[in-house]
């Protein structure tokens, strides 16, 4: 009982916690100082600036709005062109050349620089935008006006015959009227078509890299499995070398491999396939070999004992055991490769990323938005797809 009281007292007072030695205090101070130093430096080095985050530039609004107005669909662009000549000076005997189209008249249709001239249209396409341009004998063009036809398809525009460069003041001038409008059914815009094309390339990039990666990682993983290779000294040496090789491969990121292969085989999807394949081999080789190492050794020994050789043992006793985990890892890798193949184009490795970075650099945010949405949709769809496959197979 007395003992209990003693310990109770101690717990209440905790003398050793209350008066710390100067050494303890200074150690704590140093730790606190180190902590503050680390994070102050980190804050500065990464240029963290909350005020920037809170006061976005005006451009951001446009960017966000563009993001929600991707360039996906458009109609066929149509134009209708009318050309009417104007002679300087008037000369009824002179032939007029190059007139096209109908429904526009010049009145008068001859005169001098600076004279009043009325350009009028009738029976044209109603409610349609158009431009009027003046052309000199040598083909110099000056835009005079933008207009819109009324509901009857008429317009009228009065102006003075514009100045022409020296030497071009005489001869056949003329007014060119161009109506432009969109018609027909909605269709994919040029941007959308480019995005689709590159998206297809992206998916096939992931497919080729995953397939090549799996085909090469399977044999490599057996070489990197201790229970397969550990039976002989030579096997053990191969095991260590393959492990080392895989570790080195894995420590270099895919984008860096892409940069290396771009130098080697040039910009394009092939470089991307090589980079993703290499990283897939490294990652799958490790995962696969761990699956091989965790198998039940019993069947392996049983098959060995029948007189089967190493390859037969792998096929008959090991493969059936590792197939389910191999499949799971492969689907997981496919997901990663789809994601990676959408960004590998940023450095020139082919796929949609190439278009994306190009449009961003040209400040074509609506086009860029199309690419971003395509990436979001494809990655999400592939996620669902692989989840479905996983459910079916495993």
């Amino acid at each position: 009982m007395a003992k209990d009281k003693d310990t109770d007292k101690k717990r209440v007072l905790k003398p050793e916690r209350l008066d710390r030695t100067p050494l303890q205090i200074s150690v704590n101070l140093i730790l606190i100082a180190l902590f503050l130093l680390t994070y102050t430096y980190g804050w500065r080095v990464t240029e963290i600036d909350i005020s920037k985050l809170l006061s976005p530039p005006d451009g951001l609004k446009g960017l966000v709005s563009d993001l929600f107005h991707p360039d996906i669909i458009s109609r066929d662009a149509k134009t209708y062109r009318v050309y009417r000549t104007y002679l300087i000076p008037c000369d009824p005997t002179r032939e007029r050349a190059g007139e096209v189209g109908e429904g526009v008249t010049l009145s008068p249709d001859c005169g001098n620089i600076g004279d009043i001239v009325t350009i009028a249209g009738e029976g044209l396409r109603p409610n349609t935008d158009g431009t009027i341009a003046w052309r000199t004998q040598q083909g110099g063009t000056k835009i005079l006006a933008q207009f819109k036809t009324d509901e009857n398809g008429s317009f009228s525009f009065t102006t003075r015959v514009p100045e022409a460069p020296p030497g071009q003041t005489k001869g056949q001038h003329g007014a060119e009227v161009i109506l432009h409008w969109e018609e027909g059914s909605l269709q994919l815009s040029e941007t959308a078509r480019q995005v689709l094309d590159k998206m297809l390339e992206t998916i096939f990039l992931a497919l080729m890299a995953t397939t090549l990666g799996v085909v090469l990682a399977v044999p490599v993983s057996f070489l990197a499995a201790r229970n397969v290779m550990g039976t002989t000294r030579v096997g053990m040496i191969i095991y260590f070398l393959v492990r080392l090789f895989l570790n080195i491969l894995r420590s270099v990121e895919t984008l860096i491999w892409a940069l290396i292969f771009i130098v080697w085989v040039g910009i394009g999807p092939f470089a991307g396939v090589l980079a993703l394949t290499l990283h897939s081999i490294a990652a799958l080789g490790k995962l696969y070999s761990e699956a091989v190492e965790s198998i039940d050794p019993g069947p392996v020994e049983a098959v060995q004992a029948t007189g089967a050789n190493r390859i037969q043992t792998v096929v008959y006793a090991i493969l059936p055991q590792v197939l389910p985990p191999f499949l799971a890892f492969t689907i997981y890798r496919w997901d990663i490769n789809v994601r990676m193949s959408t960004v590998i184009g940023l450095v020139g490795g082919g796929g949609i990323g190439f278009l994306l970075i190009q449009w961003i650099n040209l400040i074509q945010y609506r086009q860029a938005a199309t690419a971003v949405w395509a990436i979001v949709i494809v990655v999400a769809a592939m996620d669902y797809f692989s989840a479905w496959i996983r459910e079916k197979l495993i």
Binding site: D296, G298, P299, E301, A302, V303, Q304, A305, T306, G307, A308, N309, I311, Q312, V315, Y316, A317, P320, Q321, L323, P324
Partner: protein, 251 residues
């Protein structure tokens, strides 16, 4: 003489002396039971004979040929004559019963044909015959893990028979089975023994040894303590080997 084991010694990497200087011979037609308490070295001895475990020293001579000196292809060739049945059956659980059975024939087939899954008509017939023999013809296309323990062990026997072995090593073939099943499994071994296949079977129940063995070997702590007729291993002898605390022959 089918098998001769000479001065077999096994010291594991961690220094465990599992076998010390074990010598015996085994003739065609014999059903030899290897007795011993758990940890006495029975598994090690059986696995040294087909070199699933590499002996530290000594020789294993099969049909006059030194198996311990054989390497690579020669060893695989010699292994075909030695079937093995395991305590935990060691079937590939996800593969079919038929495929497990056929795998006993791998040593007779080329690598390419077997990894492509091409089996000769004769091998297929042999597999069905052996499955019929162990009463599992109707399970040929089931997955191995759908079978009960006793059935799995019978597949193990069919797999060993595929090798057309001259010797079958059985490592506690009934230890993980319901006792009532023990006799059914051991009877299969007895049948194949009567057809001329020698059997070396480890057991830890002396009464079973007495029932099936033509000869008994008893191991204790890696030493071969007894080699003789089952009836010579009476209670007194048994206690002499395993100490006063050991259970009697009649359990």
């Amino acid at each position: 003489m089918l098998l001769e084991v000479k001065n077999l010694t096994k010291v594991y990497e961690d220094g465990t002396k599992a076998l010390t200087n074990v010598s015996f011979t085994l003739d065609e037609g014999e059903f030899v039971v290897l007795l011993g308490l758990s940890g006495s070295g029975k598994s090690t001895l059986l696995r040294c004979i087909n070199r699933l475990v590499e002996p530290t020293s000594g020789q294993v001579i099969l049909n006059g040929k030194d198996l311990t000196a054989a390497g690579g292809a020669e060893l695989r060739y010699m292994r075909r004559d030695i079937g093995m049945v395991f305590q935990h059956f060691n079937l590939v659980r996800r593969s079919s019963v038929l495929r497990n059975t056929l795998s006993g024939r791998l040593g007779y087939n080329s690598t390419l044909r077997s990894i492509l899954g091409i089996w000769s008509q004769a091998d297929q017939q042999r597999a069905f015959q052996n499955l019929e023999r162990v009463g599992l013809l109707n399970k040929a296309f089931n997955r191995a893990d759908e079978l009960s323990g006793g059935q799995q062990q019978r597949v193990g026997i069919a797999r060993a028979l595929m090798q057309e072995p001259r010797l079958v090593l059985a490592d506690e073939p009934v230890a993980s089975l319901d006792p009532v099943l023990s006799h059914s499994i051991l009877k299969y071994l007895e049948d194949l023994n009567k057809e001329g296949i020698a059997v070396l079977c480890s057991l830890h129940i002396p009464s079973l040894a007495r029932r099936y063995a033509t000869r008994v070997l008893a191991l204790n702590n890696g030493y071969l303590m007894f080699d003789g007729k089952p009836e010579e291993l009476d209670n007194a002898k048994f206690k002499e080997i395993y100490g006063q605390d050991a259970e009697s022959l009649e359990e």
